[in-house]
């Protein structure tokens, strides 16, 4: 790339200036160009959001700035200037002086990003000792100082801890402390919260934000989550296939986006206040292979506004308006994000669903308890882990029930118990009124057949040695009620139903893309005409564009087949999009239940409210208006759950009674139930 | 003093020697240390000289601390050495039942007491007491013979002992098997039942038993071998200075009170323990040993060793049978029926190429002698056929013998019996038609020449269609598993075995191994004629008896004869002495008192 777009004039406050950065990687005899002519800059106190699909080159850009490309990677063009210093010309030794000192980085996975055999004190002190030439003691003191900065109580005592002794959120704070130790000018946060639960994500992001402000740092926030961007970034660079597709101030971007890719990206995410009846937009095709250099616009093959010009020549990133640049031959007319549109529509249609009539429920779960014996070794004391603690709910025929909750709250356990992979410790599961639990052996398996499951990880849930045809046929074979040719016919029907070509039949799972695999998984689940489908995190392993395809498909099939389904996800938006009714779980308990809109717009449980508040929405106004961290702290251990109301340890409204008495699930009317001594809403 | 026989050539029988022994050097440099290798794996662990069977071969410095009555080696021959014996030659009465032994009056114990007739009687009483406890308590015991047949033993004067026997023996036999193994012991010092106990009368069997038990027990406390005052009372040229109980290595120093013919000339003799023949060889190669017996697999290294300063000399041991034992009772595949046929044994013997094996670089490389009977062709008791093989190597003859007796010989295939029956031209009694000539053979896993010669034999057998399955085994294993006497339950498991040499001693009658009742008759060979010939060797009068026995056994083939390998001794060129004092090492006798460093 030659002339790069100059986004504004070089000002004295620009800390970091990247121009025309091009990175090449040589690996396994292939040459990739994961970053092509990227230009960006950032000033002190500013947050630049770098957003894009997986593989779009976000991390690689960060790595190039840090001078830490993977083996085989080189910067082949462009410049990186930090405070007027050309970093590219630095020797490795000099570059080392920059890292951790002038630019610091926060990584995604805090478990693997901390050395398990070193104390956190050592790890935080390390950069101080290197860059500040501090003594062991001084560095240690500094470590305590930054640790308190990131909000860890009694920091001096924690310095001697090892990473595994900390919770995920704490570890992420330690990571941040490590990055801050030398008060860098620029901090690059690469997906700093992707591994965290939403509640924790909100806390960490707020912390980062505050620190940046206080210390006057510049921050590059790398994420794939448009919601995070909307709430935290001052400016946004949208990346696609190693290039910047669009760059603008956050408000500008959401209010008047121009690049079709930006638009499509947003259009394919389900939103909390999504119109449930509207289909999500899906971006067709796959991102381009970065090893092939094509002349045209990299998005051309997937773009709905494509023309011959697009395939002939790649558009350059041009600042069409002050502070707003995009690289497109056929920009969309300035328009606000599809989210805002959808939002507006949804607000209009505050619908009321008919309260379930007298039809008996298809699936009824009552008083379900699942506890695990966890023993500490051979002679260790036995402990009981309460994964599900007395959950009851019903799903009417044809309805979809959604389960949400933080990680570890027992959603999957509930799902596994319902389909019979686990035996409940207590409670009943009735399918069409018949209690499934006493049934064992062949009879039990047969009676459970109407309940089928769709798994989370499309890579793990298909036997890698079986061909697609055999995989889909398996439930038919197990049911054994059709001959081979009938089975084959059914397999073909199913393929058709999930929108796969028959050519995949002879393929092995690894020859399929993630989306295709998930479709195969769905086809398999549907093979025996189940009446109930349990889908555990059906889309959380999928990339945005694929995710919308699968969501659409599930939605269509629900409607077409009249399926009764249970959708489990930690993503309230996904659940709300798919489900008629939603149950919110907390630490093995159902704390609130009701229609999606009721839950979203009139949450009665403080936990639900906090959860909703923590979910980042791709709407800058909404995001900025949100309170800082609504639910604080972390999920307590399920081995010794808090007495009374399990949420009380994190509840802002908690009172003495909460510790003593367990609140019951009470109906607020219209099927909206809540288990709280101090509900936010009554009736 | 000087070497006993300056200018002498070693005493040998025949010309089977290998290498040479230089004449004794004229100038003697007194003192010095001699390092000598103990037989690998045979670390001494017992000291009392009347050895129980378990410890045979593992006693400390046999004959060098306590002299035997008769020294049965002169150079490389088994002739009695009158000079080194502590008694005059025995006198037999005409009925051969009374033997008078006169001890030389020149010998004294190291504590100054003379060696007297009672010391011999004491020793014999101890043997009797020991055998009463357990038949294995004296290595040289043959049930029914000495001392069972000892009517009386008496010290008739201070230096004379008279033995009265109930049966008569061939003097050659009795000399070798009994008198040669008797060792006078210091009764004045040892005849007690505990360390500080009083001297008791050993003629009382109860006392003899107590004494034996005491000595036997003391003899197992290896840590005290060199310190226990008991063992310091000796009459040989050396005393035990140090004993390493962990390895069995020990050091001898001259017995200053020695009263015999040749006092020790070097200051110290170190017996170094070795765990393998290779270790011995390596040490020799590194020049770290003064004297060593080498494994025959190092024969072709001898010229190299010579150039680095060693003399070497090899000689087969006399009175040694080196043969493939046959199991006449193995009924598997009718082996007993087949092996009972003399023609078949002859055919097998015809397959053994003794001259070839001796010559082969892969087997003996020259260091062995042909052997066709228990007695060597060069000995005074040589068999009638001398050194001419009764059944010389000839595949053709073997084949013809088989064919003449009703076998269909298929070269490299399966020879089968086609004419069953007991007739002259038939296979033989009990051998059915279609019988295959196949059997197994176990051989000792060391030395390498054993495997090599058996392989050659098996391969030759293949040429006439005889199939022999073979496997190498530890010698011990073969003794305890493939010996019909001790493991009768396994008698059908082996047909032929080669456990290496069996030593018959200086008077090599084979009665122990081939008489019908022989204690070591592993394969249960039985022949009336052999029995009567052996009986003659033992109890007859005829000095030719042994030769007659050997002639018959050479022809009747109780075993298949193999060459007799040389024992090879190497010693530093700086070490000199009477040539016999080196030649006798090949026969297992050590006389270090004759060695000295050349000035």
């Amino acid at each position: 790339m030659s002339a790069a777009a100059d986004l504004g004039t070089v000002s004295a406050t620009r800390v970091l200036d990247v121009r025309d950065l091009t990175v090449a990687i040589e690996a396994h005899g292939r040459r990739l160009q994961p970053v092509s002519g990227v230009s960006l800059h950032i000033s002190a106190g500013e947050t630049l959001g770098l957003v894009g699909e997986s593989g779009s080159g976000k991390s690689m850009t960060g790595a190039a700035i840090m001078g830490m490309l993977p083996p085989g990677g080189t910067i082949t063009g462009g410049s990186v200037t930090l405070g007027g210093r050309d970093l590219r010309s630095l020797s490795e030794t000099d570059y080392r002086q920059v890292r951790g000192n002038d630019i610091a980085m926060v990584f995604q996975d805090s478990l693997t990003s901390l050395n398990p055999t070193r104390t956190i004190g050592y790890q935080i002190a390390e950069p101080v000792r290197i860059h500040r030439g501090a003594s062991r003691k001084e560095a240690w003191e500094r470590a305590a100082e930054v640790l308190s900065l990131v909000g860890i109580p009694r920091p001096a005592e924690r310095l001697g801890d090892y990473p595994h002794q900390l919770s995920g959120g704490m570890r992420q704070r330690v990571m941040i402390a490590m990055a801050l130790a030398c008060e860098p000018k620029v901090i690059i946060a690469d997906e700093p919260t992707t591994a965290l639960d939403v509640t924790m994500q909100a806390q960490v992001l707020t912390l980062l934000d505050g620190l940046k402000e206080r210390l006057g740092m510049a921050m590059i926030l790398i994420t794939h989550d448009m919601g995070v961007i909307a709430g935290r970034a001052d400016r946004v660079n949208v990346m696609y296939a190693g290039r910047i597709a669009e760059a603008a101030d956050t408000e500008d971007l959401f209010a008047a986006m121009r690049h079709p890719y930006t638009h499509d990206l947003l259009a394919s995410i389900p939103l909390l206040d999504q119109d449930r009846s509207a289909r999500l937009y899906s971006i067709s095709g796959l991102p381009p292979d970065l090893s092939e250099r094509s002349a045209g616009c990299p998005y051309a093959s997937r773009c709905r506004r494509v023309s011959d010009a697009c395939t002939a020549l790649a558009p350059e990133l041009i600042e069409h308006m002050p502070g707003h640049a995009f690289a497109c031959w056929h920009p969309m007319p300035p328009q606000s994000s599809p989210v805002l549109v959808a939002r507006r529509q949804a607000n209009d249609s505050r619908h009321e669903e008919t309260v379930e009539d007298a039809t008996p429920p298809r699936l009824a779960v009552s008083g379900l308890v699942k506890e695990y014996d966890v023993r500490r070794g051979w002679f260790g004391a036995s402990a009981r882990l309460s994964a599900v603690a007395g959950v009851s709910f019903e799903i009417a025929p044809g309805q979809t029930y959604g389960l949400v909750g933080e990680s570890g709250c027992g959603k999957s356990t509930l799902g596994r118990t319902i389909i019979g992979l686990e035996r409940p410790t207590a409670g009943e599961i009735r399918l069409d009124g018949l209690d499934l639990e006493p049934l064992k052996g062949g009879e039990g398996r047969r009676r459970r057949r109407p309940i089928q499951m769709m798994f989370q990880d499309p890579y793990a849930s298909l036997d890698p040695r079986l061909r697609v045809a055999a995989i889909i046929r398996e439930p038919l074979r197990l049911a054994g009620d059709a001959d081979r040719s009938a089975q084959d016919a059914r397999v073909r029907d199913l393929l058709d139903a999930v929108g796969l070509p028959t050519s995949v039949l002879e393929r092995l799972p690894h020859e399929l893309s993630g989306g295709q695999r998930q479709r195969v998984g769905l086809a398999r689940a549907l093979a025996v005409h189940p009446s109930v489908l349990v889908a555990d995190e059906p889309v959380s392993a999928l990339d945005v564009s694929v995710r919308s395809q699968v969501l659409n498909l599930m939605k269509d099939l629900q409607a077409d087949l009249g399926l009764t389904s249970l959708v489990i996800s930690h993503d309230l938006a996904v659940v709300k999009y798919l489900a008629d009714r939603i149950g919110v779980m907390y630490l093995g308990k159902l704390v609130e239940e009701g229609a999606g809109e009721d839950i979203y717009q009139a949450a009665a449980h403080p936990y639900t409210a906090g959860l909703i508040a923590a979910i980042p929405e791709p709407v800058p106004d909404v995001e900025r208006a949100k309170p800082a961290a609504a639910v604080t702290g972390e999920l307590p251990s399920a081995i010794d759950p808090p007495s009374g109301c399990r949420f009380r340890t994190r509840c802002p409204l908690a009172d003495d009674i909460c510790a003593v008495r367990e609140p019951e699930l009470i109906d607020l009317g219209a099927g909206h139930k809540v288990a709280c001594h101090f509900p936010l809403r009554v009736g | 003093g000087g070497g006993g026989g300056n200018g002498k050539t070693p005493t040998v029988s025949g010309d089977k020697g290998f290498g040479s022994i230089p004449e004794a050097a004229d100038t003697v440099q007194a003192g010095g240390t001699v390092d000598i290798a103990l037989s690998p794996g045979l670390a001494p662990n017992y000291i009392y000289p009347n050895v129980p069977a378990v410890f045979n071969g593992t006693t400390v410095a046999p004959s060098q601390l306590w002299r035997p009555l008769y020294w049965r080696s002169t150079g490389a021959t088994a002739a009695v050495n009158d000079e080194l014996s502590i008694a005059e030659p025995p006198e037999y009465s005409s009925d051969r039942k009374t033997i008078t032994i006169e001890l030389k009056d020149s010998y004294t114990w190291s504590d100054g007491e003379p060696v007297v007739a009672d010391d011999l009687v004491f020793s014999i009483e101890l043997i009797r007491a020991a055998l009463k406890e357990d038949a294995s308590n004296w290595s040289y015991y043959t049930p029914g013979q000495f001392p069972d047949d000892l009517a009386s033993v008496e010290a008739t004067d201070e230096h004379t002992v008279t033995l009265t026997l109930t049966t008569a023996y061939n003097p050659g036999y009795f000399d070798a098997f009994v008198l040669g193994n008797l060792i006078p012991l210091p009764a004045h010092s040892w005849s007690k039942a505990s360390d500080d106990g009083p001297i008791i009368d050993f003629r009382d069997p109860a006392n003899a038993k107590a004494t034996f038990d005491y000595l036997h027990k003391a003899s197992q406390d290896q840590k005290s071998f060199a310190t226990n005052p008991l063992w310091s009372v000796v009459n040989g040229p050396f005393k035990l200075k140090g004993f390493d109980s962990s390895t069995g290595g020990f050091t001898l120093v001259p017995n200053e009170e020695y009263s015999g013919p040749q006092a020790a000339q070097v200051d110290e003799v170190n017996y170094l323990p070795f765990t393998s023949p290779a270790a011995v060889f390596n040490q020799v190669r590194a020049g770290n040993l003064t004297v060593a017996l080498l494994d025959s697999s190092y024969i072709d290294q001898l010229p190299t060793l010579e150039s680095t300063g060693y003399n070497y000399y090899g000689m087969p041991k006399e009175g040694q049978v080196n043969s493939l034992f046959l199991n006449f009772e193995n009924t598997t595949n009718n082996f007993d029926k087949m092996i009972a046929q003399p023609y078949l044994r002859q055919a097998l013997q015809h397959l053994i190429d003794q001259p070839g094996y001796i010559k082969s670089k892969g087997i003996y490389n020259g260091a062995a002698a042909e052997s066709y009977s228990p007695v060597s062709a060069a000995s005074a008791n040589a068999p009638g056929f001398g050194d001419k093989a009764p059944y010389p190597y000839s595949i053709e003859t073997a084949k013809k013998l088989l064919e003449d007796h009703g076998w269909k010989v298929v070269d490299h295939g399966e020879t089968t019996c086609v004419r069953p029956g007991a007739g002259d031209d038939q296979c033989g009694e009990g051998i059915p038609e279609g019988q295959k000539l196949s059997f197994n053979l176990f051989y000792a896993n060391s030395p390498t020449s054993i495997a090599a010669r058996n392989t050659a034999f098996i391969a030759a057998a293949k040429k006439v269609g005889i199939t022999i399955e073979s496997a190498a085994k530890a010698t011990n294993f073969m003794y305890s598993n493939y010996d019909n006497n001790f493991a009768p339950e396994n008698k059908d498991k082996w047909a032929v075995q080669d456990s290496g040499p069996i030593n018959l001693g200086g008077y090599p009658t084979a009665s122990l191994i081939w008489s019908t009742e022989g204690a070591y008759n592993a394969g249960h060979y039985s022949s009336e004629e052999a029995d009567s010939l052996m009986n003659e060797s033992i109890s007859g009068e005829d000095p030719k008896a042994l030769s007659n026995e050997a002639t018959f056994l050479g022809k009747d083939l109780p075993v298949l004869y193999m060459p007799n390998p040389s024992n090879i001794v190497v010693w530093k060129k700086t070490l000199s002495g009477d040539p016999d004092a080196f030649a006798n090492i090949t026969q297992g006798f050590l006389t270090p008192e004759f060695w000295y460093y050349a000035g």
Binding site: M453, S461, D463, P464, L478, V528 | -
Partner: protein, 303 residues
């Protein structure tokens, strides 16, 4: 993504870590293959070459490996005997082929015996779980702690070595590693989503085992076989070297080498180096093949 996977933390972390580490260890002992894709090829070519020489060689270069000629012992290499002759006068090149056949046969057979036993044992333990598994694995622990070579040597004193008995003895004492591998594999497969999926569709025990568990653990088993062959060949060679090999008319490489070593100082190098190098080559070949197979397997897994 899910906290469930981490629940091991609770369950006696130390035990789990230690146990897992040990299994991991066995599995990984031979990882790392910087030759790229060629290593498998090198291994296969090497193995095929050795197999061809040993099994087909005699067709082209036929020698008398039956008749001993003691007088032709230790002839140095010449036109007539490219690798000279040994102590029996056998042509060494021909002897190499003879010994190679035995070594390969024993190696392969021992590996198969070990694999069959190990697979059945490991799969049973893994599937049964609970107390059965605990007892079975404790037994494996015990057997693994008894030094294998010692026991084989001790047992060998009682047997007459034949190709069969050797491979049987080796096989009977080397099934432990495959047993552990297969058990670990079955345990991990048991909780895989696709196995859960099959269970949730109503698949019964045998159906799970035969359709999912066995085919999917086969990879590990096959990889292990190749390593096991290499190990068995080495073990046989060691046995042969220590005097428990085959006897005439049979021979094996370890025995040949051991016989040759007796003449180390005599300069008969042709008795040592050809057979030594053959041994190295064949063990190397099987290791390389195993390495490549495992690489492929791992790559497929991480896809």
């Amino acid at each position: 993504m899910s906290a469930g996977a981490d629940s091991g933390q609770v369950v006696g972390a130390a035990e789990v870590l230690a146990g897992r580490r040990r299994v991991e260890l066995l599995r990984r002992l031979r990882t790392g293959s910087p030759f790229g894709g060629t290593i498998g090829l090198v291994g296969v070519v090497l193995a095929l070459a050795i197999v061809a020489v040993c099994f087909l060689g005699p067709l082209i270069y036929s020698t008398n490996q039956v008749d001993v000629d003691p007088l032709k012992a230790f002839l140095p290499p010449s036109g007539e005997h490219p690798l000279g002759t040994d102590s029996q006068g056998f042509d060494v090149l021909g002897r190499l082929m003879e010994g190679g056949r035995a070594s390969l046969q024993i190696g392969v057979f021992a590996a198969l015996v070990a694999t069959v036993i190990g697979t059945l044992y490991g799969a049973t333990a893994g599937l049964a779980g609970g107390i059965v598994d605990a007892v079975m694995m404790r037994f494996v622990d015990v057997m693994m702690s008894v030094p294998f070579l010692f026991v084989v040597l001790i047992v060998s004193t009682k047997f007459n070595s034949s190709a069969w008995s050797l491979s049987l003895i080796l096989g009977l004492f080397s099934w432990l590693i495959p047993a552990r591998l297969v058990r670990a594999e079955v345990l991990s497969l048991k909780t895989r989503d696709y196995v859960l999926a099959a269970r949730s569709m109503g698949a019964s025990g045998p159906s799970l085992v035969f359709r999912h568990l066995i085919p999917n653990s086969l990879g590990v088993v096959v990889v292990n076989i190749t390593f096991q062959v290499a190990d068995a060949i080495l073990a046989v060679a060691t046995l042969g070297f220590l005097g428990f090999g085959l006897s005439y008319p049979h021979t094996d490489w370890g025995g040949q080498l051991s016989a040759g070593v007796n003449y180390l100082l005599s300069g008969y190098w042709w008795l040592i180096y050809p057979v030594g190098l053959c041994l190295v080559a064949v063990v190397l070949a099987f290791n390389l093949i195993g390495e490549a197979l495992r690489d492929t397997l791992d790559r497929r897994r991480t896809l």
